[in-house]
Amino acid sequence: MSRPLTVVRALAIALAGLVLMAMGVGAASAAPSSQDTTWMVAAHQSNLTEIAAGKAAQDKASSQDIKDLGAMFVQMHTALDADLTAAAKNLGVALPDAPSAAQQATLASVGAKSGAAFDSAWVSSQIAGHRDTLAATQKEISSGSDPTVVGLAKAASPVVQQHLSSLLALPQAPSSVQAGTGGQAATEPAPVLLALTVVGALLLATGSLLLKRRRQLA
């Protein structure tokens, strides 16, 4: 009676092994999810943007801190992008060859400035860009499917976080906010305006009276 049981057990073990093998093969060969490919495209375009921005900083920044950050961004985003493009090739994910239209517009707008205005605009755009990249990368880590792509996101996250921390050390808290130059919202007359109007009217009336009296006397 033990023989049929052994056969059944052996068949069950073999079947379980086949199922596990199939699952393993499936996980390795399944196409990346839409979340995975979306992140790969966004991360690649961010890398291209940071590399271009880093080169611009090396050329145009007036602050040595920003030139140094630019050099670091070029080096590290080039390395991140090499891993990303290699993985995309293996997974059959097509990547664009240029930053997005919005990223290109920002690069052009910042690149058109010079001196302190360039530095300020560069830091602002880089903080915004690195925040967006980090938020997207954290989403890939929590919601991505393909282990290779999630692994890339995990590797990129601390690098981008380090860049963002370096950037966030640069803006100074403003001591003032000048947010009105036209006066159109000043709809209630200032006291000096009322006083000027009243005094002007009184003077005009008195002058007219004097002239009228003189004319009558003449």
């Binding site: 602050s63 302190a116 300020s120 830091v123 602002s124 755009s125 903080i127 915004a128 925040r131 967006d132 938020a135 997207a136 954290q138 880590i141 995990k154 996250s157 601390p158 976080q161 380090q162 963002l164 921390s165 966030l168 640069l170 803006p171 100074q172 808290a173 403003p174 001591s175 003032s176 906010v177 000048q178 947010a179 009105g180 130059t181 036209g182 006066g183 159109q184 919202a185 000043a186 709809t187 209630e188 007359p189 200032a190 305006l193 000027l196 109007t197 005094v199 002007g200 009217a201 009184l202 003077l203 005009l204 009336a205 008195t206 002058g207 007219s208 004097l210 002239l211 003189r214 003449a218």
Partner: protein, 226 residues
Amino acid sequence: MRASRPGRRDPLGWVVAGLGAVCLAGAGALWAVGFGTAADAVPMPSPGAHHPGPAVAAPAAPRPQAPAVADPAFLPSVGATPVTIQLPGAASVPIRPVGAVRSTGMELPDDPKQVGWWVGGSAPGDATGTTVLVGHLDSVTGGLGAFAALLDLPSGVRLTITDSAGAPHAYRVTSRQQLAKTDLPASLFTRDGAPRLVLITCGGAFDHLRHHYDDNVIVTAVPTDG
């Protein structure tokens, strides 16, 4: 040697009337350029106000600075950049990042219909800190600004910010205060403390000669679910 012109036999009358005309012309010119006071924005008596009283910048209990960590599993959540803010009864207002590197004054977008997000502060999805948006009350060339609406924004109003990933972030207004510009609290500009939103524009008397207002109007809002 005094020049006396025929026909001007009452210099006093002419001088007085002339002065009056000059005063009126000056007043007219000042009216034309808007020499006045923006509607007062006094602190609102709101029982549920998050920051009642004059302590506009009183943040929640200060938190210790988070230590630098390298493990992505332990990194705090980072918010994407804010791209639009929806004020009640108004179109969606575009937001663009602004900084203040090596300058004492806050940079603002040139277009008064856009508002600026201070990049040194927090973003709506951040675990901690203050998200600071600055916007024009008005400008010489652009007319009334997007944040003119702050002057009469009541307590309890809901505001929605959308970030670059398309995620909405809802806030509820808890206070609106007006302070002299020289009293702008430095504690507004922080990435520490409980998450909150601070909107800053101008208010008070308009100085025609220097083309600026005397005060800042500061609206504070806290995150809300519904």
